[in-house]
């Protein structure tokens, strides 16, 4: 009989803060927990019993603390190998964690953050979130800008956020030809006009740069049906609006979507569609292109356009542009049935679908320096569902592109406050075995610093030292201090993954 994981855990007295088996989304039959997973789960229980008794705590309370999380990672290392940086001392003393991972050690720029225009979209109720024992609200307020500020800036160590686009396009004019403004322009759950508005509000509130924003406009958004080609006058009008009026800092493309009903997606190396857009963007002075690649099941028929194969020519033909490849082109997330199919991941090479293609592009073009793999959702999801693949993801990204080209993103607040992903990255390490076998390098603190924020700073062109001085004194930091002083906590603080003192 199928039962929810939480119910099984309750019945067995399991309260691990990390999921110890693959979770079915009810569209496929869950696999039996394998021997290692059972072993891991049992070990977490045993260690938690032992340590909580030693500390005179209830086991449940222990598991909700940073010590509980450290215990889960420690047990994982004992079973699977050294995937996580964790010391035994951290399982008995919260201060050990604080010493090892002091707050503010890294300057964190999250290039993939979202909220919605007042609509709830169900992500925060995802199975993997529930299975981390997170209890996130999933109503419209939870996806609001207000909660965005709380979860991104107050509940996590993120210093600067890029408000990142989602599929959708704005309607320029009504049927009478009148130019529309604000909400009348529509544009989906997070339109360009709204990202821009909120960026301004945030920066004004902080008294300095705390947010950047992207624009959703893309080559197939305005279509001339008579000529069956892009409607360039309309397209360029929208581009100008987004750059000049909205002040966007990057485009966000979803090649595998067609909100303009053009009848197709588009390739980044399409000289008739994408190249005129590139040239217009250069003319407008905007050179950063953030492109969703991977997670192809998010399109009904156009998923193949999420393949990274079109980046090679586009990037080589446009060395003056910067391309950020979102999700590092991970084709399927761990929640998708295809993720478990034979051949998706090859443990003998460490390759997995579509990510491998992105790596080959760089391998073929070592001189290509304008492509940056971003790790939003890919890192966080693999970290909890498949630590070995996660090591290959980061190991290969760094091996081929360099630590100075891997960019931090989390896709939050879809997954709550990003602090749990930040914590995972702080503890993340590549095993000796994989380093030796696949030629990966151990990730140093310097590497992590680049990934966490220094690389994004270069792309978005701001002075890190200036921000490091200004941010602690800005109004947003004051508000955060007041929030923490009043006992503010992330929604998932009590469940163990995230430390409540964030």
């Amino acid at each position: 009989m199928w039962i929810p994981k939480w119910q099984r855990d309750k019945e067995r007295g399991v309260d691990s803060p990390v999921p110890t088996q693959a979770v079915s989304n009810e569209e496929f039959i869950p696999r039996q927990q394998n021997a290692k997973q059972k072993e891991w789960e049992q070990l977490i229980g045993e260690l938690a019993d032992e340590k909580s008794k030693k500390l005179g705590m209830q086991r449940r309370d222990f598991m909700r603390s940073s010590m509980g999380m450290a215990t889960a990672f420690l047990a994982s290392n004992m079973i699977y190998g050294p995937n996580w940086e964790v010391d035994a001392a951290e399982t008995l003393e919260p201060a050990a964690t604080e010493d090892k991972f002091p707050k503010g050690e890294y300057f964190i720029v999250d290039v993939q953050t979202h909220f919605t225009d007042g609509v709830a979209i169900g992500f925060r109720n995802a199975t993997f979130i529930r299975n981390m024992d997170f209890d996130l609200k999933d109503d419209a307020d939870a996806y609001s800008f207000t909660n965005f500020v709380k979860e991104i800036f107050f509940d996590s160590e993120t210093s600067i956020a890029v408000i990142s686009g989602v599929p959708g396009r704005e309607t320029n004019k009504n049927l009478a030809g009148k130019v529309l403004e604000g909400r009348d322009r529509r544009g989906g759950i997070l339109p360009s006009w709204l990202m821009s508005q909120r960026k301004e509000e945030l920066n004004e509130m902080a008294g300095g740069t705390r947010a950047f924003c992207q624009g959703n406009c893309a080559p197939n958004h305005y279509w001339n049906r008579q000529e069956n080609a892009p409607d360039f006058p309309q397209l360029f009008e929208q581009m100008e609006r987004e750059v000049k009026k909205y002040g966007i800092d990057s485009w966000k493309w979803y090649c595998h979507t067609d909100p303009g009903r053009s009848g197709d997606g588009f390739r980044m190396d399409d000289e008739k569609m994408a190249y005129p857009f590139f040239e217009k963007s250069k003319e407008l002075g905007l050179n950063v292109f953030s492109v969703h690649k991977g997670f192809s099941a998010q399109s009904r028929t156009l998923g193949h356009y999420a393949h990274p194969g079109d980046i090679e020519k586009a990037a080589k033909d446009h060395p003056d542009l910067t391309f950020i490849v979102y999700h590092s082109a991970l084709k399927h997330g761990p929640g998708e049935p295809q993720f478990r199919r034979d051949g998706f991941f090859d443990p003998t090479t460490g390759d997995f679908e579509w990510h491998a293609e992105l790596m080959k592009i760089k391998e073929r073009n070592p001189e290509m320096s304008n492509v940056y793999p971003e790790i939003g959702s890919s890192f966080g999801l693999l970290a909890i569902a498949h630590p070995v693949m996660c090591q290959h993801l980061i190991g290969k990204n760094v091996k081929y592109f360099g630590a100075d080209h891997v960019v931090w993103g989390t896709d939050c607040l879809w997954w709550g406050s990003p602090q749990w992903v930040i914590d995972a990255m702080k503890r993340f390490q590549i095993s000796d075995e994989l380093c030796e076998k696949f030629g990966y390098a151990k990730l140093t603190k310097e590497d992590k610093a680049k990934i966490f924020g220094l690389n994004a700073a270069k792309i978005y062109g701001f002075d890190v030292n200036e921000r490091l001085k200004a941010i602690p004194r800005d109004s947003l930091s004051d508000l955060k201090s007041a929030y923490l002083h009043r006992g503010g906590q992330p929604d998932n603080a009590a469940q163990g993954w995230v430390r409540g003192t964030a």
């Binding site: 989304n25 709830a120 049906r225 069956n228 067609d258 099941a297 399109s299 009904r300």
Partner: protein, 301 residues
Amino acid sequence: MKQFGLRLILSVLIVSLELAVAPLQPREQQDLDPAQGGEDHVGQPIPPYMTGDECLFCHRDIGKSWPTNPHQLTLRPALPDDPSSTLLSQLSGGDELLEQADFLMGGQRVARALKRSAKYGRLELSLARAFPADASSNEPQQSAKDSLDPVWHASHFADRCAGCHCTAVDAQNRAFSSVGLDCYVCHGVVDLNHTKDTRQVLLSTKNQPAKQVAAICGQCHLRGGHSKSSSLPYPNTFVPGDNLFRDFQVDLSEQNIQSMVPIEWHIFENVRDIVVLGREQVTCLSCHQVHGNDVFRHREV
């Protein structure tokens, strides 16, 4: 699986009970006119609607199973491992045909290939047809190479197939706005605020007005009908929520229904019960769960 089995048995019992009781109920004095009431968008432009890729950004659970849903496969990329590719490749000139093909259509009864047209919203249809070995067709296998001129027909798909194999066909120029069946085909024009009131998404619950359900499913499943205004064998600018029958002419007579094969009979009789006899207890949704891929389950049963 047990839960599904139980649901299926209960559904069959309920439907059987309702069907058994139905003849005992006094027949309406007068048959209803399906064309009465409601509205239509005949001749009007296709309304702006949210495309499926925008929907799937949020509705990721549907994205996982939709690729194998029969509704999604009405028109699909011409991939080599598709059974229809195998069938078509066995035709004389089949490999050449498949090299040019962008999409495939059919498969159970007949397999066809299509390629993109230079025109917006149009596909060219290969007149070559391949039949599965177990298909109950008397038609001969057709060569892709020898017997057809032209091999690719420019308007055949638009004239005959587009309405039910693509989304939002503009009856004026017969151009579709999306390949295959987009969410809009069944769910209609959905406002962003549907997250606050899911009733805005048609067919999102079983408690939809029966005539609306019959119209939405009937726009494609009532085969043999035609549009009064366009004479096309598919509806003219049907927007879910419309009264399909104001413009779409279907023979729901007992005589016609009795002459049909069981699958058609089943559909026509149920629609007739709703729109002519006013029996609204049972709709397509009483048994069919489209997102649940229950067509496959049906076959298994």
